[in-house]
Symmetry: D2
Amino acid sequence: MTTRVAVLGAQGRMGSTSVTALEAAEGLEVVAQVDVGDPIERVTEQEADVALVFTTPDVALEQVLWCVEQGVHVVVGTSGFDGDRLRAVREAVEQRTDVSVLVVPNFSIGAVLLMRFAATAAPFFESVEIIEMHHPAKVDAPSGTAVRTAELVAAARAEAGSDPVPDATTTDPEGARGAKVDGITVHAVRSRGFVASQEVLLGGEGEILSLRHDSSTRESFMPGVVTAVRHVADRPGVTVGLDAVLGLDA
Amino acid sequence: MTTRVAVLGAQGRMGSTSVTALEAAEGLEVVAQVDVGDPIERVTEQEADVALVFTTPDVALEQVLWCVEQGVHVVVGTSGFDGDRLRAVREAVEQRTDVSVLVVPNFSIGAVLLMRFAATAAPFFESVEIIEMHHPAKVDAPSGTAVRTAELVAAARAEAGSDPVPDATTTDPEGARGAKVDGITVHAVRSRGFVASQEVLLGGEGEILSLRHDSSTRESFMPGVVTAVRHVADRPGVTVGLDAVLGLDA
Amino acid sequence: MTTRVAVLGAQGRMGSTSVTALEAAEGLEVVAQVDVGDPIERVTEQEADVALVFTTPDVALEQVLWCVEQGVHVVVGTSGFDGDRLRAVREAVEQRTDVSVLVVPNFSIGAVLLMRFAATAAPFFESVEIIEMHHPAKVDAPSGTAVRTAELVAAARAEAGSDPVPDATTTDPEGARGAKVDGITVHAVRSRGFVASQEVLLGGEGEILSLRHDSSTRESFMPGVVTAVRHVADRPGVTVGLDAVLGLDA
Amino acid sequence: MTTRVAVLGAQGRMGSTSVTALEAAEGLEVVAQVDVGDPIERVTEQEADVALVFTTPDVALEQVLWCVEQGVHVVVGTSGFDGDRLRAVREAVEQRTDVSVLVVPNFSIGAVLLMRFAATAAPFFESVEIIEMHHPAKVDAPSGTAVRTAELVAAARAEAGSDPVPDATTTDPEGARGAKVDGITVHAVRSRGFVASQEVLLGGEGEILSLRHDSSTRESFMPGVVTAVRHVADRPGVTVGLDAVLGLDA
């Protein structure tokens, strides 16, 4: 059985790379490409099973709600799709319990695994610090992924009753790019030559465990996109995060 | 409640470091230290709950069997405690179902986590290679931990139906230190300055996930020793591997 | 004063990327682009000061000799331009002492610096090993750059009277991808996600110095191309290697 | 010819490790060990050629001046030996032009090479950032070595006329441990498991050159101590820094 996929925002950078990846994936077929000015009805005309949405947040909300109403499963790749938008989708899905919506803040399987591993390992080590490295055109520091990782690490330590990370620093008059997030120090490197990298350092007496992910091209998101589209229908209701479809919670 | 611990091989390097660590750990008390020439009866005279064994393989087997017979739980830290020795212990424990034996080939929690993470991540990446780095006095290559990691990675990929790791190499006339284990290439670095390090590189299109553990002192094994002693009694029968007592299989 | 540049092999990958980079560089102007089927006379008609050659080895030799005869300086970026070809150019330049030819086996300034630093540091450390990491479509192992680095390291140690690198390995039945080059072990990693990376590990008692270069795009060669074109005229005769024009030998 | 060495502060950590290392080194002999309460005259009674000083700054100054007056060459390993102390020694040496004094702020050859390499490479890359990693008991951030490295990098870039390091950050409300030193961002990691590590990241379009030094034991300083003692007599007058005796300025 082939899964029929519609891509919304098909001419954007993530959309067009996804079209190529989905067409190359076994068992998937791109039956509709919708971009600005195209009628969304193509999705149903072409009998798509799943809509993959990469449009801007406001357009995306409308499109997701329309797809849900039509009984089409949705993978949302639009950034910043949270808060009110997420609530609106949850309400809509309560009316259509046969429809699944998967909201994916980060399609990088490597980055998602790194976060999980960091949280799992965190209670076993005295110290944890995070270094994220991005291109120098990035305007915000630290990165959203690093903040999320720090939050997960801090939550895992809190649950395990870990002590605070030790730090005897008394003289640090200036500070550098980064932040302390829930007690976890995050360093933000900005340098030409990086696209998006993150390293979590976990330290104990006489040992360091370091978990690092380096991403250099948009192609690195494609296994995540394909996995999301393949498995969105398996999870009824609204799900947030790629983890849910990686089969890690056996 | 305090757990009373006897250390067998208490004057060896791991034994003596463990005595210090156990005495510093909350809820544990070292009540007997046994070394060459000392009567093993000290274990029961001092009413030890758990015996921690670091003696040589042949002595160790006798000691473990004696402890089991006496109803004392055992953590086995002796290297190379497998095959016939393990079978003999399993038989003995069948007669004493109230006793737990935990055999620990590697007390480094960091190394154990690294192996688990590598196996979990392996099916999500096209390529996996392992680099292990040890001091130049090591006589065998690759290291036992690296071989074990490669086996776990290969097994995880086989179960997931992963393709073989891609490799177009046609000219490689000489070869370097290391091996190909179940299809996974393991590189063995020998350099002054390393004690025991291992890095697993997982590569996909446009991304690398690297998991690395560096161990520089015997103290890095102590959290594993303490955890094993604390939790040995929770698992009836004979268990192999620290994983079982890390609480990772919720 | 603007330097007028002709690019030969202008439609190839390195050629076309170089045209873009040279046009963006201050003081340089691309006045001629020559590719298959185009007359080489464009170089002199457009009064080029420097010809940058990226054509195939056989075509390249003819073109370089013609440029030398015409009094045009040449930067040779064609791979494998050595042996007989280099000798032929040296002879030609003996007749035209006003012309400079710079043959560049590697335009990456980072890679060239890494090799120099490795050779400088090598005599100060007991151990040196090299890890090179490339994409899995590469057919030869180890990489030419790694072999060259190992040779430079070995030569520096020989000159300094260093002892052989210590290695107690007695059991290494299989071997992995790589080679031992002049006594220096080179490990060759092949994994999706790498383009061209190299790490030199220098180890002493209680310390590791690691020098690593990661290259992910052809753009990383452009500073080397621009520097070569800018400075080729400064060095009369035939010169091999980018080092010569980096101003490092004050 | 054997060089006769007196160690002042012989029972301190650096002093005692140095005594062992000097006795193992070819051509060197420890003829006097002086510590608190011992008469400094042992240095001359035992006809030492070189005094190696690891005492506290105030004691050290007196001892160095006494040695200079007696015609004994001095290697100063005492931390913080600069400013007025250095001036006093320079004045004393002007009266005894046959005596050499070598003040060594950092005996790690690896760390000294890293600083040199970073300064050499810095003008060839758009971006430079530094990450230093130390144990969590360190009270100051960033480390002195990292600050010195940043200063050398900044000076090399200024001399070469490099542009400022690019950085588009507009949102970085909190900051992390570290500092911006002469325009170079230094990140300070504090984690159990590190002793003293430093990494310099140099980034250009599509490439990263990373230079890293990890030091885990005091033994890593011994090659620097031995080299300083061996070569102090070669450089008349007062010299600061190990570089001068590494033979790098051919």
